[in-house]
């Protein structure tokens, strides 16, 4: 195993750890917004680490270009999706846990109907 391979292994394992932490966060956090926080932050970090590790593994080739494209597109769209989701949740009256704002319609704060 060469030095590059070793670095790539370390990066990818660290990325896998990030991803796993995000998964645990999504399962264990108390409410939607903290879950979203756990998911989106670790997503970006894990994505960056895994993709960089794969790039080192790929070397100069066409797959390297595709990996860069995947990285760029996900780095752009993943936070946007998180924003869109948080926005949709907030607009339709789904306040963060602990916030009691009477101006926000509280219909379906719990249960299926948001």
């Amino acid at each position: 195993m060469g030095v590059v391979e070793l670095i790539s292994f370390v990066l990818m394992t660290a990325g896998g750890f990030c991803v796993f932490v995000g998964g645990v966060g999504v399962l264990r956090m108390p409410d939607l917004y903290t879950r979203m926080h756990a998911a989106s932050v670790t997503d970006t970090a894990g994505l960056f680490l895994v993709a960089t590790g794969l790039m080192l593994h790929a070397g100069w080739s066409l797959p390297l270009f595709k990996l860069v494209a995947i990285l760029v597109f996900l780095l752009v769209t993943s936070p946007t999706a998180a924003y869109a989701l948080a926005n949709a949740a907030m607009l339709s009256g789904h306040p963060p846990a602990g916030v009691r704002d009477e101006t926000v319609p509280s219909a379906g704060r719990d249960g299926e109907t948001p």
Binding site: T80, Y83, A84, N87
Partner: protein, 331 residues
Amino acid sequence: MTLVFGVFLLTLLVIVAVAIVRSTNLFAAVMLSGIFSLLMAVNFFLLDAADVALTEAAVGAGVATVLFLSALALTAEHEQVRPGGAALQWLPLVVAFATGGLLIYATFQNPVIGDPNAPVHQHVAPWYLENTPELIDIPNVVTAVLGSFRGFDTLGEVFVVFTAGIGVLSILGLRHTLVEMTSAEIDARQRSLRHHLIPRVVGRGMVPFILLFALYVQFHGEYSPGGGFQAGAIAAAAIILYSLLEGDDRGRALVPEWLLQIMVASGALLFGGVGVVCMLLGGSFLDYSVLAEVPSEGQHLGLLLIELGVGITVSGVLLTVFHAFARRASR
């Protein structure tokens, strides 16, 4: 090791399927079927079916979710809960279990997964794999079989897609009388994501790249996973994204309906037309060898044209369906 990954993912697949059937909220069921489709694609990939996985990706990630959501917007979001609640119904359960049990019993006769001596791998498949380099001369055997060896089949499938598009149009109406242009305009603005700045900027930036990728999948389909079906779905997804962001009216301005109708018809016509041209040049129907001096070059040309026809029809039909549902919602 891939086998273990496959077993794990297939187990997840079953769990998701049970959850879909159990949930009384249809929106939740649609979201879960999004996960179902993703898992399906990963499983296809692990089973060495890259083309199929790409198709599932193109269809399941964009178009299917959007269609189900727009149908939900037009119907109801919840299943009605009846007295007796979400209890299992015994007769269907018995029927389903009997069928499932019978099938599992039958599987013990099956050759194991990956057995190279299984009957499936004995009959025509080796012939396709052996003769593709010589007769068609492209690396992707799936495209070769799809377009050339079994081109007749594919023509039929394209016409099924075409017919489904016509069916949706005739059920949901080709035109509808606009109530008032101004209120429709306000309506579209309210429905679109036009005032969401971040998704709008990012999404509009993505649209050209998705279209570019669709073109890559379309014209690189002979050398890598891809082809007309996938490219059509991806291109439709790009336009659907634009319509979601900018409002249905602007989406229709970008790709007008008359153009869509021409696309739906002309793609199928192109496919059939290539076949007829082959006949006029002295070959049999869909035998592309006669299209050029060298038979394999004729095959290349024929595949290029019919894949183009497939792509045009598929994207046309999917967009037509999307617009038919979206317009229904805005009246």
